[in-house]
Symmetry: C2
Subunit: 409 residues, 2 copies
């Protein structure tokens, strides 16, 4: 059964200067209306940084990009969906190198100046002819209009129901204009943090040193893409790339502009991460877990993740059931020491647990509040320290099971 | 919607000498045909050992039993289902103590000679009058026949579709007879190891020292109940108790008899653990994961658990999809170092992955083999050391989601 598509949420952000993009159907996906090759090109050499899956079993494009970032002199990124090029051995490595070389030649650039991302089924070899044809066609279709941006974002999608775009202007160039930043991402499934199972690409017309690019991307990803989970399954292909080309101003960012960039990067990644949870396979609710009072950010994240990975919590939300015992017990096995007597739990603002005891509450009203909102907010205060985290996930529905029991092979 | 019941699998094992048992409906569950109080009584003081949940948020009966085991002088165990007495603060502690005191008085024994187990909904106070009435009635209905044993096992059930009983004879007493061992358990959901979310009770008419009882129960649980997962959610109430009353021979076991007991205990716990996975909520398959070649047993268990906790793996099995990429990638994020180039994966005996590359295989035949069998066997050889584990889990179906989106509150 085909996946229903929904339109893009919100306006398309402005494309940063000096970039052009394309997305088209090259035949990797069966449905001819679905883009499966995207090309993002900078008209000048850009600084690139990347963050990658921590899975021991990682795909060929992850190895390729990880060996090359952070660095300078990059002219673009080529992306395919429909095939992850993972668990494909030495042929997979050769196929990734060929994708990069084909794209570099198609845009008239040097070999080694293009990075690669792949997503889709694991364990099948890339259809090299379709990909090469698609890349060459994409190079001829590069554009800077909104439709091209949306097609490029659609080229990343697998079972996503909509493209995911975010970004805005920030800072002030020497010439008095704003810098621009644009991010796109895909999610849907195999979403478990460190990183979420996802691809993301953020481009900006600011200039950045490789060190700043890597540091700020790592920090932003830690607070956003590493705080999203759909099914807790860490992918072989997770990749977030940042390209900064200096088309707005070739002087690397410093001071207030650098700070403004870091904030905009985090905000953009946060929006994309929430979108990934919201568009999780079969999701009827996005679950936001705010943990506070943990010993550290990492401890807070572990508690949030234990709660959101529990199928009992996820089904309680899809069933609009304020079953707080499932939440409290999941926090208790997160592997983070805390005193249950100091734990406070609120769900959609309603206090449910305090002093190691249930709090009298209106279960019908709590259930109605879950039913009435797309977002369910779980707040857990451990009363143990300064660590906080905001974590996004999705609920578990019969539709998730149907999608994943039927998807391939 | 009520849960369909299925009959007990296999014959009812013999009740060990000196024990009598009862199970009845006291009104904790709505359905009057469902037992919710069980009483297991020894006619003489018994040695007791226990293993318990590692959740920081643990129920009142867990605290009660943990403080008292291992030890001697125990005359019985009282169990209720339908209410976990978890997250109930000091009132919960008082309610557990009252259950134990009521049961001890009802069987004419000393206070402090009865242990307690509870399972069911978290965060509600026990209905003390119903429980006290039920315990007194149960003490009048104690029997040694098969029907009493089945009713006692049914008194542990929550959303289990059938009672779970296992056990057999072992060893040889000084008088030339066999010892007997009987185990009963409940599972269904909140099944995540360390321990599985479960209650278990094993009784034997052999005599054991408290040290031997605790050591052998801990070892057996580590190999069995700690190797079963339905949904990875560790409960607040997990408890396995062992009672050894010496009614067959009052001399504590040594030598060959002690070894035979250890083997029978592990076999019995293994059978019960597999039954828990097989009867997982909504399950259409039991998934057996055999990991070998790990650096240690613990490393093997972590890989098995990552694989069985992945909803993508669980839905692939329910969909009869030999989607080995999901299995290999789950192994890769288990947090256990290994070389993917040495990993070998077989599914129902069919080799799917070796040398970091896909193996050509007949996908239709592999899918048919999943469909044809209740048990799906996943074998993972990490090629890295001597550590092995056998782990049981269940697949994920839309029925699991329905059950858990609808269950209470």
């Amino acid at each position: 059964m085909p996946i229903a598509e929904t339109p893009l949420t919100g306006p398309v952000p402005s494309l940063p200067r000096g970039f052009s993009v394309a997305g088209l159907h090259a035949g990797l996906k069966r449905n001819p209306t679905r883009e499966d090759i995207s090309l993002v090109v900078s008209d000048r050499p850009a600084t690139a940084a990347g963050v990658y899956t921590q899975n021991l079993v990682y795909a060929a494009p992850v190895a390729f990009d990880r060996a090359r970032t952070p660095g300078t002199g990059f002219r673009g990124v080529v992306i395919n969906s429909g095939n992850a090029n993972a668990c494909t051995g030495s042929q997979g490595e050769a196929d990734t190198a060929a994708m990069a070389a084909t794209a570099a030649a198609a845009i008239g650039s040097l070999e080694g100046s293009v990075l690669v991302m792949s997503t889709g089924i694991i364990g099948e070899f890339l259809p090299r002819e379709k990909i090469e044809g698609g890349i060459k066609d994409a190079a001829l279709q590069l554009g800077t209009d909104e439709a091209s941006v949306v097609r490029a974002a659609r080229g990343l999608m697998t079972t996503d129901t909509r493209p995911k775009l975010a970004g805005d202007c920030f800072g002030r160039t020497a010439g008095g204009e704003s810098y621009r930043l644009l991010g796109m991402a895909k999610g849907a499934a195999m979403i478990g943090p460190k990183l979420a199972t996802m691809l993301g690409l953020v481009i900006t017309d600011a200039a950045l040193t490789p060190d700043d690019a890597q540091r700020l991307l790592s920090e932003a990803a830690d607070l956003t893409f590493n705080c999203v989970s759909v099914d807790g399954h860490m992918s072989t292909n997770d990749t977030v790339l940042l390209l900064a080309n200096g088309a707005a101003d070739e002087q690397p960012l410093t001071g207030d502009n650098l700070a403004a960039f870091g904030e905009m990067l985090t905000t953009t990644c946060q929006t994309l991460a929430r979108e990934i949870a919201d568009d999780g396979e079969g999701a009827t609710h996005v679950i936001r877990v705010d943990v506070s009072g943990a010993a550290s950010r990492d401890a807070a994240r572990r508690v949030a993740r234990a709660v959101t990975d529990s199928p009992l919590v996820k089904t309680a939300v899809s069933g609009a059931d304020p079953n707080w015992g499932r939440i409290v017990s999941a926090a208790g096995y997160a592997g983070v020491p805390f005193d249950p007597a100091r734990l406070v739990l609120r769900l959609n603002g309603i206090e449910l647990f305090r002093n190691a005891s249930p709090v009298a509450f209106d279960a019908a009203a709590a259930s109605a509040s879950i039913r009435a909102q797309r977002e369910t907010v779980i707040e857990l205060d451990l009363g143990d320290g300064p660590g906080t985290i905001r974590f996004f996930s999705s609920d578990l529905t019969a539709e998730y099971v149907r999608l994943n029991a039927d998807y391939h092979t």
